[in-house]
């Protein structure tokens, strides 16, 4: 479901492609797992999700990584290749600097821009659609 700030228009025809978002698509990655229940499974799901993003359309405009989600952008991350591929495809990668510092990963950030809460807030507020993982 779209949030209050979502601005959408419709195209003719049924199906998932019938909705056009009138602004950037932003995905918030708030953890290094996807969903709750089993962390091992959650890590696999999130890695698969990021991998799938490299191969589907539409692409998101921005991925915002915060809290333990920033671990995915570190050198040792098994998801790093896919995040780098997304960056190469033109997807903006924002990393929460506070979170990198908290996990002592600021020197390990291997992709994207180290950002702050002002930039992250503006990115989310200007989005046509925000997807929170």
């Amino acid at each position: 479901m779209l949030g209050q700030n979502a601005a959408v228009g419709t195209q003719e025809g049924p199906g998932p492609d019938s909705t056009v978002v009138a602004g950037p698509i932003v995905i918030g990655v708030s953890a290094d797992t996807m969903g709750r229940g089993d962390d091992d499974l959650g890590q696999v799901l999130l890695r698969n999700y990021l991998h799938t993003l490299t191969e589907v359309v539409p692409k998101p405009d921005t991925l915002v990584f915060f809290n333990s989600g920033v671990k995915l952008a570190a050198w040792e991350s098994p998801a790093l290749d896919d995040i780098q591929t997304l960056a190469g495809q033109g997807v903006q990668i924002l990393l929460c600097g506070t979170c990198l510092s908290h996990f002592d990963l600021k020197e390990q950030a291997a992709v994207g821009e180290i950002s702050n809460m002002y930039a992250i807030s503006e990115t989310l507020l200007r989005a046509g659609k925000v997807i929170n993982l």
Binding site: D40, V44, N48
Partner: protein, 86 residues
């Protein structure tokens, strides 16, 4: 007529836990691999698979078997196809 050359072999596994176990076993054995979504054409489920280089496919298969990883099938990805042949 030229023979098809392959870039990767995908090992389709029965569950995410088998994929995790297989990935660990392959990395321990020094075989580079990637845990990726199973190609749509190869699975109707929300499945995962292990991708290895085609040149390491036999060794990888042995490692997976010894590790007790249940392989549901394999898909060979031609060198001229997309990343995972999806």
């Amino acid at each position: 007529m030229s023979a098809t050359t392959y870039r990767h072999r995908l090992y389709l596994v029965l569950s995410a836990s088998h994929a995790i176990k297989g990935e660990s076993a392959l990395l321990r054995a020094g075989i580079p691999c990637a845990l990726i979504p199973a190609p749509r054409a190869a699975s109707s489920q929300c499945g995962v698979c292990l991708q290895v280089g085609f040149e390491t496919r036999e060794e990888a298969g042995d490692v997976l078997q010894k590790a007790g990883v249940q392989v549901a099938g394999t898909v060979d990805i031609p060198a001229d196809s997309g990343r995972a042949g999806i």
